[in-house]
């Protein structure tokens, strides 16, 4: 089952987690001039037979963007990628056989293995926007929309 939870749930232990993410703030700040995109504006149509990327997303292809979302439970504590979701996922689709990803995820690829923050944290991601189907060579994970060469910070 998919789980959603509101912002108000993510208040505990912020200080502890903040430590883990401090080193990431610098890189995120460098990209301050990136264009901001949002989950709500990724698609211009969203139907049973597939989605169409919005004109803005299409225009920003290959450019530096910033997007805010929630880090889904990562596969490993350190990883070169994670899944960014519109709303927090309480479960880990990697870990549980009857769980599945929402359809409108964004996959975030860092250049190196990076320590993840706790699942369900709101994060701001900056990096290069890529769209179109791609399959990660290491894991076979298929994605339609990605932020690559990415950095992230707690939102």
């Amino acid at each position: 089952m998919r789980r959603r939870s509101p912002l108000s749930t993510i208040t505990r232990r912020g200080a502890v987690l903040g430590l883990a993410a401090t080193s990431l703030f610098d890189r995120a700040a460098i990209a301050a001039d990136a264009d901001t995109i949002a989950f709500d504006g990724l698609y211009k149509s969203f139907g049973v037979l597939g989605f169409e990327f919005s004109d803005r997303v299409t225009a920003l292809r290959g450019k530096e963007v910033r997007i805010t979302g929630y880090m889904a439970p990562p596969l490993k504590p350190e990883s070169h990628f994670f899944v960014l979701t519109r709303e927090p996922l309480a479960i880990c689709p990697f870990c549980q056989s009857d769980a599945d990803w929402p359809v409108d995820i964004v996959v975030v690829f860092m250049e190196n293995e990076t320590a993840m923050v706790s699942a369900g944290r709101k994060v701001v991601v900056t990096g290069r926007l890529e769209i179109g189907s791609a399959t990660d060579a290491a894991t076979g994970f298929v994605s339609q929309i990605r932020v690559t060469h990415a950095a992230f910070a707690l939102a």
Partner: protein, 580 residues
């Protein structure tokens, strides 16, 4: 988008690792097997012996002789520490069989009952309704909400209660007391017991989920042996466990992309549900496939009409379509509570979804013209999903929806006496009605508002709409429905009008689930310390028996207490699916 097969297979394999010390024979002991149905015969021998060190007999004769085809011996199967003897696609005439597998001084013995079905066929049509997770309290609450209650009697009967035959059904699988929906539905569609997460297979030691020993499903039998039309209708993703059990053979129910291929292989005439992304080529944004197969195009080429909304579904029916692929949502179709009252969930994205009643009407309309009859499974899937969320109002609304769908089937069956209708849950939830919450009672806490025994006054829900749903449940006196299993959570004592309840969220350690604070601040909100393992984020299934009701030819077989596999047997007998 999904994790790669390799990755997920590794996770699954590690979960399955257990070292049996004796030989294991599939099908297992006490299997009841339909005469002429196909099954994979497999014997696993520990410690990887050579062929010469083992012997397998059936009724005292070499297995290959009885099964009529040579068996295949694999030493150290897949490099594992066991050897295997296989015969895929076996079948047997009716009779009692004793299978013995000898390895050195150890002998394992299982018994099979291969049963015949008598001619002539008694039922032209079978309609199997599955209320996923529909526990007894679901029926009681649905009756209170939709029929009314006065002086200890109801003002009407549910369509599913007003049936001549009833049985108590046990739902456990081979590996555990408490089943899941895959294993439970598999028992109905194959007549074999299996293990949690399995569909159409026994759970052997194979590393890959699709390699386990298969058993034939009733949809495959109907297609292979008769001219019957087959329909599969649900309001979950069509690849989800219950609908998948009609066509699937996998150790892992989450193999959604493979399950779409299995639907395509069996080709039920009517396929309706949610879960479209697994039908789309991976090059299409919104796809969850990992390959470029376009199953929308494939089904169309195979003669199916595609419907993506209620309007298109109804147009297909009035246009005379006999084969329909109806995909109405990327995920699950919204439940009755959101379709009718709250308008939350995905209603804004998918404003024209049919409910289970409308789907059932459409399916029967398309299937009923087939001269050889039809087999239709209809699932109300979210009765279970909402009980996992401890969202009993949504669960009960979907019980009412199932009952309205049963009414449609009963109206079709009428006086024909050629249609077997079965209504059965696949497993229970620990849910009970303990009284009513009355806001006019003194005190500030939810417990103060609870009236029990003589103070459990009937609820004051709003008037019923034309389909028997209350038009308001967020009233001052409400049923007090409790769940016996829960993570750390907060109980509001009120319906969740702003969307499906989320009882718990992942805590900071990434493992433990903690109460969803959103529900913890209202006037009556009550914090409850969970009674489930710390990694549980929602309620769990219960092993409690479930109530089956039935009518039509063959239904008289349902009485007393039966294992869930008996449901398959009654359907197979009514349709005379046995024979070579």
């Amino acid at each position: 988008m999904r994790a790669s097969c390799l990755l997920a297979a590794a996770l699954t394999t590690s979960l399955l690792g257990s070292s049996a010390i004796a030989q294991t024979i599939y099908p297992i002991d006490r299997a009841e097997i339909l005469e002429g149905s196909r099954f994979d015969f497999k014997v696993e021998f520990p410690n990887a012996p050579a062929s010469a060190e083992v012997n397998v007999t059936i009724n005292g004769k070499p297995a290959a002789e009885v099964l009529g085809r040579p068996t295949n011996f694999v030493q150290s199967e897949e490099g594992q520490k066991h050897s295997a003897l296989w015969l895929r696609g076996a079948s047997l005439p009716a009779g009692r069989y004793v299978v013995e597998a000898t390895q050195g001084g150890n002998k394992a013995i299982v018994n099979w009952d291969v049963f015949a079905t008598t001619q002539p066929r008694r039922a032209k049509n079978v309609i199997l309704f599955i209320g996923d997770g529909m526990t007894v309290a679901n029926r009681t609450a649905a009756r209170i909400l939709s029929k009314g209650w006065k002086e200890g009697k109801y003002d009407g009967e549910l369509a599913m209660d007003d049936m001549p035959n009833m049985a108590l059904i046990s739902t456990s699988g081979t590996d555990s007391i408490v089943t899941d929906s895959a294993n439970a539905a598999h028992a109905y569609t194959t007549g074999h017991k299996s293990c949690v997460n399995a569909l159409g297979v026994y759970c052997a030691k194979n590393a890959l989920t699709l390699d386990h020993p298969k058993v034939e499903t009733i949809a495959e039998l109907a297609k292979r042996k008769t001219g019957m039309a087959v329909g599969v209708v649900t309001n979950s993703e069509i690849e989800d466990a219950t609908p998948a059990s009609m066509v699937a053979h996998t150790r892992r129910r989450s193999d959604f992309n493979d399950i779409v291929e299995m639907f395509y292989a069996v080709k039920p005439d009517v396929i309706m549900g949610g879960g479209s992304p697994n039908f789309l080529s991976k090059v299409t944004p919104g796809s969850k496939r990992t390959d470029e197969q376009d199953f929308i195009a494939k089904f169309k080429e195979a003669g199916y009409t595609l419907a993506t909304s209620k309007t298109e579904m109804n147009a297909a029916v009035s246009g005379g379509a006999k084969k329909l692929l109806g995909l109405y949502n990327t995920g699950n179709i919204d439940g009755a509570f959101d379709l009718r009252l709250a308008r939350k969930g995905t209603i804004s994205k998918f404003p024209d979804q049919p409910d289970v009643v409308e789907q059932t009407k459409a399916a029967i309309e398309m299937l009923k013209g087939n001269p050889e009859g039809f087999l239709l499974m209809v699932e109300s899937a979210r009765i279970d999903k909402y009980s996992h969320s401890l969202d009993w109002e949504r669960s009960v609304f979907d019980t009412i929806m199932l009952d309205n769908a049963v009414k449609v089937a009963k109206d079709f069956a009428g006086e024909r006496n050629d249609t077997l209708i079965i209504v059965v849950p696949d497993h229970a939830h620990p849910m009970s009605i303990i009284g009513t919450y009355d806001d006019s009672r003194p005190g500030q806490l939810l417990r103060d508002k609870l009236g029990v025994y003589n103070e459990s006054l009937p609820p004051n829900y709003g008037p019923l709409d034309a389909e028997g749903y209350p038009t308001d449940v967020n009233t001052s006196r409400r049923l007090a429905v409790v769940y016996g299993s829960y993570p750390d959570t907060c109980d509001t004592g009120r319906p969740a009008m702003d969307g499906e309840r989320v009882p718990a969220v992942k805590g900071p350690d990434g493992k433990t689930n903690i109460a969803n604070e959103k529900d913890c601040s209202g006037p009556l909100a009550t914090r409850k310390a969970g009674n489930l393992p710390f990694d549980s984020n929602s309620g769990v299934h219960a092993a409690d028996d479930v109530i089956l009701t039935a009518m039509g030819p063959g239904a008289e077989r349902f009485r007393g207490h039966k294992p869930n596999t008996f449901v398959f047997r009654v359907m197979a007998e009514a349709l005379a699916l046995g024979g070579k």
